[in-house]
């Protein structure tokens, strides 16, 4: 094959996943008629095995273009590597990614959203998905809390309890710490992640850009869940009582939020 034609064909196939899929399907279909197969002569020396390699190379290129996401989803990407599906994942993701960036490089948020959707779909396909979905959700939450600039925590009323920063609660069916350890262990052996429900709080103070993550018990999670910038202490207590799970007194609630205020999580004027 002429060098310019070879370069152009490869460049076309690497930038057009649909074309690569079409050509690969024709190569792999022994029932194709001679008329259908005749155009393949133009690819001549490109055997089926080379087309499969090209598809993986396309995935590899897409993977490299996702390097900016590595610090944001470190363990999620390590999980792909651990299970030996990293290149395959990005090969599958290439059509969506390449189509999205036809007008130029994607903003990080857009690239992240597309990758997160693709990761969720990948994990759902596999037996290990429950804890990988939890891990992805955990890492995405850290990033989103760190990025957010919303002001939903601002008080509507002076007496309301409001966040002093961004605060998010997430409940998981797995112990995130055990997932971390499992992913970081070499090989596929070792202890499977522990299926024990946990609730994590993610907090970014007003004055800091870093996100703190800590595990909270059920009672704490319940009380914090009703902080919305509008409810005061009495309204929060009413909400907690309606759940039927705990029966705190007003003094219990007051002591809890005084402590949370001292720690810098919330602000309120209870005078």
């Amino acid at each position: 094959m002429h060098h310019d034609q070879a370069h152009a064909v490869v460049a076309r196939l690497l930038t057009d996943p649909a074309a690569l899929a079409t050509i690969s399907a024709r190569h792999g279909d022994p029932g194709s008629s001679s008329v259908d197969r005749s155009p393949q002569a133009a690819l001549g020396e490109f055997a089926e095995v080379e087309l499969a390699k090209l598809r993986l190379f396309q995935g590899f290129i897409t993977k490299i273009k996702h390097n900016p996401l590595l610090p944001i989803l470190p363990l999620t990407f390590k999980a792909l590597r651990k299970f030996g599906v990293e290149i395959e994942f990005f090969a599958r993701h290439s059509p969506i990614f390449l189509k999205a960036q036809t007008q130029g490089p994607l903003p990080l948020q857009t690239q992240m959203n597309l990758a997160a959707d693709a990761l969720r779909a990948t994990f759902v396909d596999r037996s290990f998905h429950p804890y990988l979905c939890a891990l992805l959700k955990h890492e995405l939450t850290i990033w989103q809390v760190g990025q957010t600039t919303d002001t939903s925590f601002l008080p509507n009323r002076p007496a309301s309890v409001r966040w002093r920063g961004k605060f998010v609660l997430q409940r998981y069916q797995f112990d995130i710490g055990s997932i971390d350890r499992f992913i970081l262990e070499p090989g596929l052996g070792g202890c499977e992640p522990n299926p024990s429900p946990t609730t994590f709080a993610y907090w970014r103070p007003d004055i800091a850009s870093s996100v703190s993550v800590f595990e909270v018990d059920d009672a704490t999670a319940l009380m914090l869940a009703f902080v919305d910038g509008a409810r005061d202490l009495n309204a929060i207590r009413d909400c907690v009582l309606r759940t039927g799970l705990f029966a705190p007194t007003y003094e219990d609630i007051r002591a809890f939020f005084d402590d949370a205020s001292c720690r810098g999580f919330v602000g309120f004027d209870a005078s």
């Binding site: 002429h2 370069h7 024709r26 155009p39 690819l43 080379e50 993986l56 273009k65 599906v85």
Partner: protein
Amino acid sequence: MPAEAGATAVGIAHCAFAERLVIEQPGIVDYVEIPFEQLVHNPRSAELAARVPLILHCASLSMAGNVSPDRQLVESVHHWVRETKTPWIGEHLSYVRADGTWKEIAEHSALFMGGADQSPAGPFNVGYTVSPQYSYPVLDRVHEAWASFEREFGIPILLENGPIYFNMPGSTMSQSTFVTRLCEKSPKIGLLLDIAHLVITSENSGRDPYSLLDEFPLERVVEVHLSGTRREADFCWDDHSDRAPKIVFLLLERLLRRCRPRAITLEYNWDATFPRDILFQDLQRVRDILAGCFNAS
């Protein structure tokens, strides 16, 4: 750049933590290799030159391709050559863009009919370096491009071997033969030997890495790249987010028994969270290998 004749500098590829590293630990590296594309994206990266010498690397000249970089790109490279005071430019022996309007493309337009979308006639920009067809016409093209860019920029252009992941149709020689023939065409051509790429090529083609190394004109090697590799889907892949495997260091030692390059660059630049302790260990490992090869006498 402490890389006079008879000395070898040890540096790193530019990464998210490069600036902090050279501020916090001056002298830990002799230079930082910085991509031209990084400078275009973030010109402030060049401020690093106040603290440590820079070497310019490039992946945009598409030297084996038939779509030359536009004038603006060439002038931008020239600008950064002056700004960084780089002793040379390392550029991939590859192509990035291909002219889809080339006449015979019409033949394979037929291939895509009725199935895939009809894409525009090009040029196609892969956005990544692709190892070219290894043939005499491409050899002539690369030589011409190399000579032209050396004249344009006034400094040496080192050619870097790429990793081979698939067989390019129409190749009539191996990569090592191609590089050897290229060096025979001009005694001035210098090489940037990426040992991880060489390992990848050897693994993916079932070749012995030591004999493959020996096939290259090692006396032309001016700079060396070291990085990680990783196996997946029965292939070996380039991986700058992992440390270089043992074979890379063994090949480095073998190379240093044959020649003395002026610079050895650790490319651990894909992951901003790459462990510093491993970077320091491998910088020391490179220095130990250099000392073992050149200080013993």
